[in-house]
């Protein structure tokens, strides 16, 4: 069973590795690239803990082969904070929007993708966008509040910058 | 003598008594005295018991005091998720 040479960009860094043809992008990120911030909760695309973006599109990395990432641009939770935390990350801490924190990386990646498409979502839009990100601890209340607060701050910053 | 109340399904191990009087100054002495008086209670005591002494729950402390007039209720050992 020969391996596949994969060349890709992860959080802006060029990486290459040899993937088993059956290996998922999730497993490659975690086991080959030591990017363990992306989590597995189900392996079937039902929980969203493994959310990453590939060429800007939000996907479950458990539902994609590592080989399919060849030539693509992958962004994970590890790439979210630049010099400072992304507003979503900061607001999640401030609003206590995490308890165990296991779903948090996936929710943050998904929420960031939402706000890039829709900077001013309704609560309902946030809830449906995040419906594929299961959280068992919080009842989602504080997550929704944190996303909305971050969105408001980002809109403010955007206006300030414009 | 402290009065120890047995829950209903324990009474058949104590000749049907609902209340057993024992001489004890601690929870540990009380449990030992109970088992000595009614050896059939042994498995239940070994399985783990909590007690309430004069209304206060003692989850797991053999040294907790028992007074001469104390009312003691035996409880299942409690824990949680």
């Amino acid at each position: 069973m020969s391996k596949i040479h994969v060349t890709t960009t992860v959080n802006g860094d060029p990486v290459e590795f040899l993937a088993d043809p059956r290996e998922t992008l999730l497993d490659a990120l975690r086991n080959q690239l030591d990017l363990t911030g992306t989590k597995e909760g189900c392996g079937t695309g039902d929980c969203g803990a493994c959310s990453v973006t590939v060429d800007g599109t939000l996907v479950c990395s458990c539902l994609m082969l590592a080989a399919e990432a060849n030539g693509k641009r992958v962004e994970t939770i590890e790439g979210m904070a630049k010099e400072e935390l992304h507003p979503l990350q900061r607001k999640f801490i401030e609003h206590a929007a995490l308890q165990c924190g296991y779903c948090t990386p996936g929710i943050l990646v998904a929420a960031k993708a939402l706000l890039e498409r829709n900077p001013d979502p309704t609560d309902t839009e946030v809830r449906y966008w995040l419906a594929g990100n299961l959280c068992r601890c919080t009842g989602y209340d504080k997550i929704i509040r944190a996303v909305q607060d971050a969105a408001a701050e980002m809109r403010q910053d955007h206006r300030g910058a414009a | 003598m402290a009065r120890v109340h047995l829950w209903a399904s324990l009474r058949r191990f104590a000749e049907g008594q609902e209340v057993v009087e024992v001489d004890a100054t601690t929870v540990g002495q009380m449990l030992d005295a109970l088992e000595k008086a009614h050896p059939s209670l042994g498995p239940a005591i070994k399985a783990g018991l909590s007690v309430a002494v004069d209304g206060e729950v003692i989850a797991n402390n053999r040294a907790a005091p028992v007074g001469p007039q104390s009312e003691v209720f035996l409880l299942q050992r409690l824990k949680g998720g």
Binding site: D46, E94, A96, Q99, V126 | W7, L75
Partner: protein, 749 residues
């Protein structure tokens, strides 16, 4: 940062600072069970029974072992014999002996150089089964003719003549129940059922184990209690606990399900067989649902007598619960005392049996037993309130337990806050919102005992005047923040100057897990005592420096102050000054406290839910939800609210859609999140919370555990709201759309 309210005079307690582990958790740096790796590490996979009940005739691993890169296979033959009691149950569940007892029961495990290879190897292990008759439903398991799954399973408590699947029996009560029913205006009796549900933590069980030929080992594992993991794993493997060092990872949720072992010893057994190479074992979601510990399923008879004015004259329950194929796992011992814990009723009778069935070994799940009991009792109370046209909160206020009430299970309640929660619910705006067509409102109260337990905590003062706290209760929902607040409050130093670490088994005395809503209560209480010890020592150091008696020194605002008539005039000596020179004043300064913590304060809550039901499809939408619960003192209110909201969400899931579905073949039909339907973000409204603070006299800051009660009221509250919306009462959870639609049609005739 200001306190939410100022009535207590605390400086830090009641504020909402950032949690210390927050940064790691929003950046992906926090290390959970599966995030840990070691050089030379192997990966493991487990072979599981596809049958609910089968004799294991033969296990042939030769094809698996022939694969390059496969390093070890273990079966039950590799584990020691001679275990008894719960140790034997744990071993039997870790790897099946001569029989597989449920769909998903582990039969063998294999370690290889990659996870994919280990999975390939597991598929090549050939197991020959002889399928045996099975039973999975709690009532069916007690029916005449049901196959007896485990001969001789009954313990001392089971009277002669009960079904061979009955493992435990319990009965208690007080007063004259028959006289109570005779005095009632109406007496009603119904049977209620709840299906098994899973804790549904998003992180699957994961560990890395390493053990050499000398029987010494280490393990990194996601768990609620690493001393439990150590004791249980050592017992299963026949080694001494001291030879096993267990380090907890960050934990991705537990809710009771990570208080015990399921596969952890396998990593050690495989490692030992593979020449001591570390072995990582990570469950898939299907393995979690099939083979870890869901809660019990229950069938419950309830009988209540009520006067026209709402006075409850007598109550009687008979609960039947199955907790899987192993005795002692159903929560009958908790469910019965919880059944009427919210009430002060003159005559009560409680009876329960535990039944064995071909299902996985149940584990604790948030307030184990209480949600089922509440579903039965609170549903019937609601039915009788509706029949007599009485307000459900008024009826609970009329019959509710209060300070000094003798509880339904024996002890006398000291200081409790049930009535405060009921009053606050009654006064909340949600309770007055008019309902539209197809909408209904449900109310229920809930209870949990709370727990203290074995606790050991250390605290060390740093050279710079900071404090490091070592606790043994893994932090699942922000307890490091809460404990840090209490220690900072006690020491009189900034919250940011206290670091709380969850440490491994080698660093403290035995700690019980984070269970029973005990972490903030018990570890917090011990941490405060440890801080007080350190304060006493710092006062001694200051006194020695000043040349006065230690008794003449008092501690306030993070510094020693001379106090009393003979202390003389000395400028305050701060913790920083004391810490900076402690090497020359007698050595390190620390505090330590260990105790089996008593003084827990019982926890009560009241929930109000409004739902709308689609009369054509039976689908329920939760419109609004209110949780009112007594926290004693809310140390970090945001995480108290989080516990209330999370508990409510889990209870709503249990009420509406979550259930274990078994086929006629005894196999679990829905072992994936696609079909095991926990609430998603779009299913829920905001969850309103009211924190009641009736301080617990048994804790230095008045803390009551807050983790568990919140899952209890949603089951009956949601079912009662559906009854209000539709006129149809669902007495068997979940209130799934097919069931609700059928009930609506039946109610219409």
């Amino acid at each position: 940062m200001a306190r939410d309210d100022v009535k207590t005079g605390y400086k830090l307690i009641g504020t909402r600072p950032n949690r210390p582990d927050g940064l790691d958790k929003v950046t992906g740096r926090a290390r959970y069970g599966a995030d840990f790796s070691l050089p030379g590490m192997l990966h493991a996979a487990v072979v599981r029974s596809p049958h609910a009940h089968a004799r294991i005739v033969k296990i042939d691993a030769s094809k698996a072992l022939a694969l390059d890169g496969v390093k070890a296979v273990v079966t039950r033959a590799d584990l020691p014999t001679g275990l008894t009691g719960e140790d034997l149950n744990l071993q039997d569940n870790t790897l099946a002996g001569d029989r597989a007892l449920y769909d998903g029961h582990a039969v063998a495990a294999v370690a290889a150089t990659s996870a994919l290879l280990a999975q390939d190897a597991a598929r090549l292990i050939e197991v020959t089964y002889e399928v045996l008759p099975h039973v999975t439903d709690v009532d069916a398991a007690m029916a005449p003719g049901a196959p007896v799954i485990r001969e001789g399973v009954a313990d001392y408590s089971v009277p002669e003549g009960m079904h061979g699947n009955v493992a435990r029996y319990m009965e208690f009560g007080h007063g004259d129940v028959e006289a109570g029913f005779a005095a009632a205006d109406i007496v009603r009796e119904h049977t209620y059922k709840t299906e098994a549900t899973h804790q549904g933590y998003i992180e699957p069980h994961a560990c890395v184990g390493q053990m050499g030929e000398d029987g010494r080992g280490e393990m990194w594992v996601c768990t609620q209690g690493h001393w439990y993991i150590r004791r249980m794993s050592a017992a299963v493997l026949g080694i001494d606990a001291a030879n096993l060092r267990v380090t907890p990872s960050e934990i991705g949720g537990g809710f009771g399900g990570k208080t015990t072992i399921f596969m952890e010893p396998l990593s050690l057994a495989l490692s030992r067989k593979a020449g001591g190479r570390p072995v990582k074992l990570v469950m898939s979601r299907s393995e979690v649902l099939r083979a870890t510990g869901p809660t019990a399923s229950a069938s419950m008879d309830v009988k209540l007598g009520m006067k026209k004015d709402g006075t409850i004259t007598a109550g009687q329950v008979y609960f039947r619960m199955q907790g899987g194929a192993f005795p002692g796992m159903s929560p009958i011992g908790e469910a019965l005392p919880c059944a009427f814990a919210c009430y002060d009723i003159a005559a009560l009778k409680h009876e329960a049996v535990e039944v064995i069935a071909n299902r996985p070994k149940a584990a604790a799940y948030r307030a184990p037993g209480s949600p089922m009991a509440a579903f039965a009792v609170e549903s019937l109370v609601d039915e009788m309130c509706r029949e007599l046209k009485l307000d459900p909160i008024e009826v609970r206020l009329k019959n509710g337990a209060t300070n000094g009430s003798k509880s339904s299970y024996g002890p006398v309640y000291n200081v409790i806050g049930l009535k405060e929660t009921l009053e606050a619910a009654k006064d909340h705006p949600n309770y007055a919102i008019p309902l539209g067509p197809n909408q209904g409102r449900g109310v229920a109260s809930g209870f949990w005992f709370n727990h203290g337990g074995e606790t050991s905590v250390s605290l060390a003062v740093g050279e710079d005047g900071t404090a490091t706290v070592m606790i043994g209760t893994p932090d699942i929902g922000g307890s490091r923040a809460s404990i840090g607040l209490m220690v900072a409050e006690t020491l009189g130093i900034p919250y940011e100057d206290v670091r709380v670490n969850v440490v491994e088994t080698g660093a403290l005395g035995v700690n019980e897990p984070t269970h029973g809503s005990r972490a903030t209560f018990a570890s917090g209480k011990a941490a405060v005592e440890a801080a007080r010890q350190a304060i006493a020592e710092m006062c001694r150091r200051a006194a020695a420096d000043w040349g006065i008696d230690a008794e003449a020194v008092e501690w306030k605002d993070g510094a020693a102050h001379p106090a009393g008539p003979n202390a003389g005039k000395h400028p305050p000596m701060t913790i920083g000054e004391i810490g900076s020179k402690m090497g020359s004043t007698g050595g390190p300064i620390s505090g330590h406290h260990e105790v089996t913590a008593e003084g827990v304060g019982a926890s009560f809550g009241t929930h109000v839910v409004d739902v709308e039901v689609d009369p054509e499809t039976g689908r329920t939408t939760v419109l609004r939800y209110l949780v009112v619960q007594d926290a004693g003192t809310a140390i970090h209110p945001a995480y108290v609210e989080g516990q209330y909201q999370g508990g409510a969400a889990q209870g709503i899931g249990w009420a509406l859609n979550e259930e274990y579905v078994y086929g006629a073949d005894g196999r679990l039909q829905n072992p994936v999140f696609l079909d095991y339907r926990i609430p998603v973000a779009s299913d829920l409204p905001m969850i309103d919370t009211v924190i009641i603070e009736v301080p617990n006299p048994g804790h230095p800051y008045g803390v009551r555990g807050v983790g568990e009660t919140g899952i209890t009221p949603p089951l009956p509250a949601v079912a009662s709201a559906i009854a209000g919306a539709t006129g149809a009462r669902i007495r068997s959870l979940p209130c799934s759309p097919p069931k609700v639609l059928a009930a609506i049609k039946a109610a219409k005739g």
